[in-house]
């Protein structure tokens, strides 16, 4: 394990930024967001960013290719720009876990090469959560806020930042800043881990369990009468899906110009009335069906297809941002019954 004094953090950032684009969470209007580090940019103390870190690998909008037409010829242009390495610093345990969930979708055959190349070029430095929020429930999904995954795991104390490499990429990055870090024992980190674990037990949502959910539960919940009330006041907006680190649905569209066609993809939301719209109309005609889709996907369908893994990481963003404060915790408690109360 290596450590660096917080007063030297900017030097470390500068060293990293020599070889790669470095993104860190930065405070701004509306909350924290990942921004490109430059001299003078200060790291946010916020627990989490408003938007999740999935944006780095699965951006809200990206051009896939362009078509240029000349007479009867069509030229296909691959205008991908992801050639540079980049480092994302300060990703929380929940968001790091979300990459694993997205990987299973985008990296299984047929591999999504856009996503894959970003995953290859990206280095993740995670950061343990010193002060989890009342809306956090990552423990429900087996995530340890005190010991996040990632290429490097970092722990921040009052005075120092402790760093431990977990992968080759991580080792490489740590060696790039070895001149300003020093070897250390893990005492302070162990102490912090204990503190965080104690807080996690105390959190108001610490008793939410996944016991009642998972693969094979479609029949049990699909026709539950509870969906009516749960979804009755859903506005049908896309807030929950767009702040969610694991929502992965997208749409592909063509933007036509006089010179040709720009084919882009963008996030889509199962909450929208035109989601998966087909020639015959929308297969989910009511908001109840759309609402049910989102939560069944997280709690049943995804586990069905992914060895029981859930596609929620308990980051709590939807709890904070939903305009009507309806969310996955309320769904789990209502459907799951007493055990979840």
């Amino acid at each position: 394990m290596r450590k660096i004094s917080l007063s030297n953090l900017d030097k470390a950032f500068a060293l990293i930024a020599e070889n790669a684009k470095l993104y860190i969470p930065v405070d701004g209007k509306g909350g924290a967001s990942f921004k490109l580090w430059q001299e003078g940019v200060k790291m946010s103390d916020a627990l989490n960013t408003v938007r999740s870190a999935k944006d780095f690998f699965f951006p809200q909008m990206e051009t896939l290719m362009e078509f240029k037409t000349e007479g009867k010829n069509i030229e296909i242009i691959d205008n991908r720009q992801e050639k540079e390495d980049f480092v994302v610093f300060g990703v929380r345990a929940c968001d790091v876990k979300s990459f694993e969930i997205l990987d299973r979708v985008f990296l299984s055959e047929p591999v999504d090469s856009y996503y894959a190349s970003r995953r290859e070029k990206g280095v993740i430095v995670s950061l343990a959560c010193g002060r989890p929020s009342e809306t956090c429930f990552c423990k429900t999904f087996g995530i340890d806020a005190a010991n996040p995954a990632g290429d490097i795991t970092a722990w921040k104390t009052e005075t120092d930042l402790y760093l431990l490499a977990n992968t080759e990429k991580g080792e490489k990055l740590l060696s790039a800043i070895s001149s300003i870090t020093e070897d250390c024992d893990g005492k302070a980190v162990e102490e912090q881990k204990k503190q965080i674990s104690a807080i996690m037990e105390k959190l108001p949502l610490s008793n939410v369990t996944t016991e009642k959910f998972g693969a094979g539960k479609t029949k049990e919940y699909f026709d539950s009468p509870a969906w009516d009330e749960l979804s009755s006041h859903c506005l049908g907006c896309g807030t929950c899906t767009f702040v969610c680190p694991t929502c992965q649905c997208y749409d592909i569209k063509d933007f036509k110009t006089n010179e040709g066609v720009q084919r882009f993809r963008c996030w889509d939301s199962c909450m929208y009335s035109d989601f998966t719209l087909m020639a015959h109309g929308n297969s989910r005609a009511s908001q109840k069906e759309r609402f049910r889709q989102r939560f069944m996907h997280k709690l049943v369908y995804y586990p069905d297809n992914n060895d029981g893994m859930f596609s929620c990481v308990g980051c709590g963003r939807c709890l904070t941002k939903c305009p009507i404060s309806m969310n996955i915790v309320k769904v789990m408690k209502t459907l799951g019954g007493k055990e979840n109360d």
């Binding site: 006041h233 720009q262 929208y272 305009p323 309320k330």
Partner: protein
């Protein structure tokens, strides 16, 4: 002013449910924390006593829900409306969006609602509970024990600039009605007007660049009640789920502001629900201020059936050229 409490409202609901005036109650259900209340329909008093909640976090505007609620079943829906909600209520009636006969409105006085975001700005994440029974809020935090903060400091932005304590629609009132009050709600618009065009453009670009196109502002807006929004309609040619560039977001919000101009009551729901805290209400207020300046003071929703200046014609109306010049000032 009578303090409106959960108990007062439950007693009123019990009276109206048991004497058959209403068959259901549209209200808020308590959540996991002190502040995360969800709209719900109650059909019996027992479920209300169990789950119904009303306190300083009960800021949601219920008027728009009446469109859907009044189409369900027989009987009247009881709804408790704050003064600002009643303007949206009237505006929706003006636009024939629901049947007035199917609603029973109890007007409730309001001394402003608090914004959990402001409490979190003051004390950080980890808010275990908030006791908002007096003008000094007691906030229990995970990390710093119990903290106190004056309600005035964490009032929702729209309540800070409350325009009216008067109910413009109700079947009965709990307590006495208030008055239309003078507010400073156009101060920020004045500031924007004083900017140069470039500064103003930069201001909005900075704000709107955070938009994630979740449509929450539109979906919560009582003035946005089209059966099918043009932005959701693949045949419209402008439907788009993401912006191709940052200017497109501005188009979305500006078009929306134009569409609700003259109908927006300035209820502030758009800014309340924005996950990116974009001050969308300022766009609407600019339109309201301009309409007031061009055609004389006009408050959408003040009376049912009012013809809004933008859909009315009088010989005294401004010529477009005059409007342009006035707008410049």
């Amino acid at each position: 002013m009578q303090k409106i409490t959960r108990e007062v409202l439950i007693a009123k609901a019990e009276e109206l449910l048991s004497n058959g005036t209403v068959s259901k109650v549209l209200g808020l259900k308590k959540g996991e924390f002190s502040y995360d209340q969800t709209p719900a329909v109650f059909t019996d008093i027992e479920s209300m006593k169990k789950d119904f909640v009303f306190d300083d976090f009960s800021g949601a505007n219920f008027s728009k829900y009446l469109i859907k609620e009044t189409k369900k079943g027989e009987g009247k829906t009881l709804v408790f409306l704050k003064p600002c909600d009643t303007y949206s209520f009237n505006q929706l009636l003006t636009e024939h969006r629901f049947d007035r006969e199917k609603v029973y409105v109890v007007g409730i006085a309001c001394d402003g609602m608090v914004d959990i975001k402001k409490i979190k700005n003051a004390f950080g994440d980890g808010i275990v509970s908030v006791d908002a029974t007096t003008d000094t809020l007691k906030v229990e935090t995970l990390y710093d024990g119990v903290k106190e903060i004056a309600k005035a400091e964490v009032l929702a932005e729209r309540c800070r600039n409350c325009k009216s304590k008067k109910h413009v629609a109700y079947d009965e009132l709990i307590g006495e009605d208030g008055e239309v009050i003078s507010s400073n709600r156009f101060d920020q618009v004045d500031e924007l007007e004083k900017m140069t065009a470039d500064e103003r453009f930069a201001f909005w670009q900075n704000e709107l660049s955070r938009c994630i196109r979740c449509n929450a502002c539109r979906d919560v807006c009582p003035a946005c009640t089209c059966e099918k929004c043009v932005f959701d309609n693949p045949n419209s040619g402008v439907q788009n789920k993401a912006a191709a560039n940052s200017f497109e977001e501005q188009m979305f919000h500006i078009i929306r502001a134009f569409h609700v101009a003259g109908r927006c009551t300035d209820c502030g729901e758009c800014s309340r629900v924005c996950p990116q805290q974009i001050p969308l209400h300022l766009l609407n207020r600019k339109f309201i201020k301009d309409i007031n300046g061009f055609y004389g003071d006009y408050q959408a929703g003040e009376e049912v059936g009012n013809r809004a200046p933008l859909v009315n014609y009088t010989k005294e109306d401004l010529e477009p050229s005059e409007a342009v010049n006035k707008g410049d000032k």
